[in-house]
Every structure is written in structure tokens, then in C-alpha cells.
């Protein structure tokens, strides 16, 4: 009954879902939806940042010692890797807008490579922590930190709080990275198939928004976790 209405036939291109009036409305809806989703993500990470704030205020010495035990070089490299990936994503969205299919695929692939690089380096860091017995639990041991920083008082129990937060925060960030890489695999596939045109590239843009968000979370995590009291 509806399908033979002339308006529906004229305006509904293949990407335009049936319930939208036009492409602009569809794009606006997707954009607003994505930003709202990112707002929920901020609240999600916000709970952990709140816990971090309180415990860092209470257990500053332990947080400082824990922070200095992290590998600043790997952390810095990872930050650089993520910033580069954000660049490739931004350029990718631009390529999609201009309709450069090959360039888009290359940029998306580069983003995936950067994503894997980040996760790999993160894995190395976690493995180091495992070898040092810095993972909270029965085998947790920070005698090395107590030895290294004799001038400050370190309570091993409170040190566990730092490392609990470290693993919870970087772990959930890494989970978001994995989801992001998964999304980009899909985007690359469809970009390669030529689904995105200058008229319709909303998924690339939304994927980009998500990727930038995950990046920004790291931009906060890096100084909060790695750069406490480094000048000493």
C-alpha cells in the first residue's frame, strides 16, 4: 500500500532506510546517536576516573611509585601510535568524502595496523607487570618498589589499589580498541566493495568518531597513570 506512493519510490535510494524522509535526516540521526553514545561512554569511564581521583588523593605515594614503575618509553610510543592512528582516521573520513576509494582503504588498513601495534605494545607492558608480580591478587608483590623508593613510605595494600585501577582502566580501554579494530575491519571491507560515496559515508564518519573517542580516553589515561611525580 505504501510502496506505490510516488514519494517513497523517488527519494529512497539504496542506502536510505525506509523510515527516513531524506538522506540528511538519516545522517543527522546517526550523528546525534553517535554523540549520545559517546556521552554514555564518558559516563562509563567516568566511574573509574572518579575512583582514581579519590584513591590518588588518599594514596599519593603508592600511586607515584606505581606510576614510576611503568615503562614510560613504551607508554609514550603507544601514545604516538594512537595519535598517528587518529590522523589516518581523519584522513580516511576526508578520503571517503572525496570519493577516493583506494586511498580510503589504505588509510583504514593503516588505522587497523596502528590499532594492532597499540594492543601489542600494551600486551608487552602487561606481560612485564606479570613478570614483576605487579598484578593484584595472591601473588602480588611490590618489594622491588619498596626497595627502589626508600625515601617514601609505600603500603603494599594500597599499591594494589593503584594496580587494580591501572589494569581496570587500561583493560577496558584495550577492550574498546579491540572493538574499534573490529569495526574498522568491517569498514575496510565495505570501503573496498565501494559502498561509501561522497553522498553516503556516514559509517566511516561514525567509526571515526568512535576511534577518536577511544584515543582521547588514552590521552587522559597516559598522564594520569604514567606521569605521576616523574620529575623526582
Amino acid at each position: 500500500m505504501l510502496s506505490d506512493s510516488p514519494v517513497a519510490v523517488e527519494q529512497h535510494g539504496p542506502e536510505l532506510l525506509h523510515h527516513f524522509v531524506d538522506a540528511e535526516q538519516q545522517r543527522d540521526a546517526a550523528t546525534l546517536g553517535m554523540w549520545l553514545f559517546l556521552a554514555t561512554e564518558i559516563m562509563f569511564f567516568g566511574g573509574m576516573f572518579c575512583a582514581y581521583l579519590i584513591y590518588r588523593y588518599w594514596y599519593y605515594n603508592e600511586f607515584a611509585a606505581g606510576s614510576r614503575s611503568l615503562d614510560i618509553y613504551l607508554g609514550t610510543i603507544n601514545t604516538a601510535v594512537l595519535i598517528c592512528s587518529s590522523l589516518t582516521v581523519a584522513l580516511g573520513v576526508r578520503a571517503a568524502q572525496m570519493g577516493k576509494r583506494k586511498l580510503l582503504v589504505i588509510l583504514l588498513l593503516l588505522t587497523i595496523v596502528f590499532g594492532f601495534a597499540f594492543l601489542g605494545i600494551k600486551g608487552v607492558e602487561w606481560y612485564d607487570k606479570y613478570k614483576e608480580h605487579h598484578i593484584p591478587g595472591p601473588s602480588f608483590n611490590v618489594d622491588d618498589l619498596v626497595r627502589d623508593y626508600p625515601q617514601i613510605h609505600i603500603d603494599p595494600r594500597h599499591e594494589q589499589i593503584y594496580f587494580s585501577l591501572y589494569f581496570a582502566m587500561t583493560g577496558l580501554h584495550a577492550l574498546h580498541m579491540i572493538i574499534g579494530v573490529g569495526l574498522f575491519v568491517f569498514l575496510t571491507y565495505y570501503a573496498w566493495k565501494g559502498r561509501y560515496t561522497p553522498k553516503y559515508y556516514t559509517p566511516v564518519e561514525m567509526g571515526g568518531l568512535y576511534w577518536h573517542f577511544v584515543d582521547i580516553v588514552w590521552i587522559y589515561l597516559f598522564p594520569l597513570l604514567y606521569l605521576i611525580d616523574r620529575h623526582r
Partner: protein, 544 residues
Amino acid sequence: MATAALTAERENYLNKEYGIRSWLLTTDHKRIALLYLASITFFFFIGGFFALLIRLELLTPAGDLVQADTYNKLFSMHGQVMIFFFLIPSIPAVLGNFLVPLMIGAKDLAFPRINLLSWYLYMIAGTIYLHCIVTGGVDTGWTFYTPFSTAFSNTKVIEAGIAIFIAGFSSILTGLNFVVTIHRMRAPGMTWSRLPLFIWAHYATSIIQLLGTPVLAITLLLVVFERAFNLGIFDPTRGGDPLLFQHLFWFYSHPAVYIMILPAMAVESEVVACFTRKRIFGYNFVAMSSIAIAVFGFLVWAHHMFVAGISLYSALVFSILSYLVAVPSAIKVFNWTATMYKGSISFTTPMLYAFGFIGLFTMGGLTGLFLACLGVDVHVHDTYFVIAHFHYIMVGGAVMGYLGGLHFWWPKISGRMYPEGWGRLAALLVFAGFNLTFFPQFLLGYMGMPRRYWQYPPEFQVLNVLSTAGSTILAIGYVLPMVYFLWSMRYGKIAEDNPWGAAGLEWKTSSPPPTFNFDEEPEVTWEAYNYEEIPAPAEVNVER
């Protein structure tokens, strides 16, 4: 427009396709609403079953029906099932899903597939939770307080936590869909000031779902991590702070109360306006009070922690802010009452629920002020006074609103009328049974009977017996609608497009609506609740 025979033949969302696939893979918001209706009804009866066992145990002072450990599991699972698997999705996911696009003149929600995804997430969460129930259950109370939940409880805390974590995402996606739909999908002419108040209240609800639920998600995830991977974020033996857990938990779980009550208020505004045949009194105030409740709702969470060791000054601030929530709530109650003043009231089933709602919600709200008061709260904290208070809001408010709304829109949803006489009987049973169940609990609590105990001193027995008796009546009142709704789907009188003579856009399409809601895209040229321009239905089969 149509005779009964023509209506029956018209293609609509129910008879367009048949078969299990056409339901499980649907992206039609109306079908998804029905999927939700069936699933939350299932969980409602599971939660109700636990409630009946609790009331049976409390029939006698001794702990004789179940053991203490079982009793702990019963009230924990009653709370979790009812809150996370029934009340949170109830009105938004069923009536909201069905009505938000219809009321604003859209063909569907903005993201139909995400809408279906949210139902699947709900079902996955529900299945995990059912598995948790049958393999041992959980005994932490619905609140998961640490360190009991993280270090001492030997029940299925991880499973329950994961289930509720996933259910939370279902709720977030519903809220997200509503906000985007209300912003971007309104029909031409449907301005913000012409939106039905149902939409305003759902908008406010969705904001809470979006901003509150993620905090619960991370909190429960940290509890799960703490149990599973030995993290120590809330562990007092490692310097972690259980109070931090309580802050994070209530940051969601207090606003969650408004997720439950705002949609009931949404229904209330529609029903009261329709059955008094008047424009709602103070439209702008009612609309803005929904937003105000959502905003204030986020600033009062620590009133759950007055005796948990927070500082007196912060307690003072939270106490004052909690009083402030009463202002927008009272605005709504006064405006509904003012709408009825000199209105042409008909006592249909939805209106009976609406009357019940106003009375019980007022009761629940006013006793909330007792609890917001620091001194009184110390006296009645963790007693049955609190239980009675929040059941007046959640059952007396939210469930009455839900049932009222279900009756009001049943003709639109099913295309059939429910039996009015049975409907009114059930409404009266629910109201009477509810009061008999929960009013004695105010007295019990005030006399000092603590919550969560499976035995009590013999002098409390009379009131407990009354409460248990009431719960039986309440149960009958809940089973009745389920029976006659099912009956009416086959044998009910065929509903007209607008049997109540109601003003909303959803009544301007056929009953049940076609898959894309409107045969022609509607254009709105009238204000909301223009009842002076709509003739009352010639035959409403109830006396005025």
C-alpha cells in the same frame, strides 16, 4: 471512518506477516514492543513468585517456610528481577516503543535494528539471569553492596552482575533511540510545544538512562572484576572504600527510580486529559517538571547513605536536594488534579488506575520526604518503612501507570477492546490489595521491624498477616488482566480507531496501525490535548 468489518480486513502490523521469523527478525517498533511485553510479563511473574514466597515466609514470626540463606536469595532476586527485568523496561520498552513514533508521526524509531538489538540484549541478560536463578541464585540484596558481594557471598554474584550489565545496555540503547527519534523524526508541524506530555516524560527518562546506566555498568563490572580477577578497588582490607561503591551504585540507582516513575507519569498525563476531556492544566509546567525531575534526580543519590558514614555536611546538602525533588513531583500531581477540576470525568479502567496512581504516588512521595529528613531517616533506615515507601512509588506508581497505560492503549495495540467490567474489577482489586499489602509495612517499619529478616518478634504478626493477605489479593489483581487481555485478542469487541475520543496522533491512524504507522505522512496543525475541538465518543460504555 470504518465499520467493524472493514477494520478487520485492513492490513496492519499484526496481520502483514506471520510466522516466528517475522517476529524474531522484525524491526517494526510495534512488534518489538510486543516482544518486550511478552518477555517482561514473564519476568514480572517470576519476580512476583519470589515476592509471594517472601510474604508466605513472613506469615509467621518464626523462620519456618525457608531457611535464612534461601530467604536472602528470595528478596535479592525479587528485587533484581523486578527492577532490572521488569520495571526499568516496563513502560519505556513496551508502551514507549509502541507509542513514541506514533505520537510524533514517525514511521519508526530512528534506529530500528538497534531497537531489535536492545530486545536481544535484554533476552540474553534475562537468560543469564534465569540460569543464575536455577543454579543457585544470588544473595547480595539487589544492591550488590561490597565487601559482601566481592569477598564474602558464595553465591552467583558474577553471573547476576553480568546479566544486569547486559540488561543495562539494552536500556541505554532504548533511551538513545528515543532521544534521537524525538529530536530528528517528528512529523512536520509537531513542534516541541505540541509534543504530548508522554513524549516529554520519555525524553526525560531517556536522558537518565543514557547518563546513569553507564555508571551502574562500570560499577558492576568492577565488582565482577574484583571477584573474578582479584582486583581490590572496593576491598577495605587493601584500603579500598566500600562507600565509594555505594556512591557509584546510587548515582545510577537513585535516578533509576525516576526511570521507573517518569514513564508512569507520562501515561498519567495522557489518561487524565482524555477522560476529563480537557487540555492538561499547565502543559509547560508538567513538561518542564519531567526535565527537572531528571536533573534533580542526579543530585540526590547520597540520601541512601545517611547512616553509612558520610559527613554531616554532605548529608545536609543531599537532604535539602532530596526535598527539592518533591517540587516538580508535586507540580505534576497538582496539575493533574487541576485538570480534573470541572472536567467531564468518566470512570473507565485506565482512569481508575490513574486515580490510584495519584493517590498512591502522593503517599509514596510524601513518605519520601520523611526519609529525606536526616533525623527521621536514622530512625526508620533499613526498616519496613523504607520498603513500604518505595513500593508505593514503584508498585503503586510505576505498575499502576503501566497497567493503566496498557488498558488505555490496548485497543490501539491489539485492535480489540478489553472487557470493561473485568478491567474495573481488576483495577479495584489491585488498589485494595496494594494498600492492604503495603500500608501495614509503614506501621511495621515505624515500630522498628528491619528489612531483610526472615523472622520477627511475635508482636509484629498481625500486621504481617494483613500484608500477606493483601499480597494475595494483589496477585489476583495482576493475573486477571493477563487472562482477559489474552482472551480479548480473540474474543474482544473490535476496537474503533479512536474508541476514547482521545487527542493524540496515535489515535488518528487505524487500530491496529499499519506497519509504517500512517497511510499518509501526518501534518500537525493543532496543539496537544485540543479536547475542546474533539467530540466525546458517542458511546462510551461506562456511566459518567
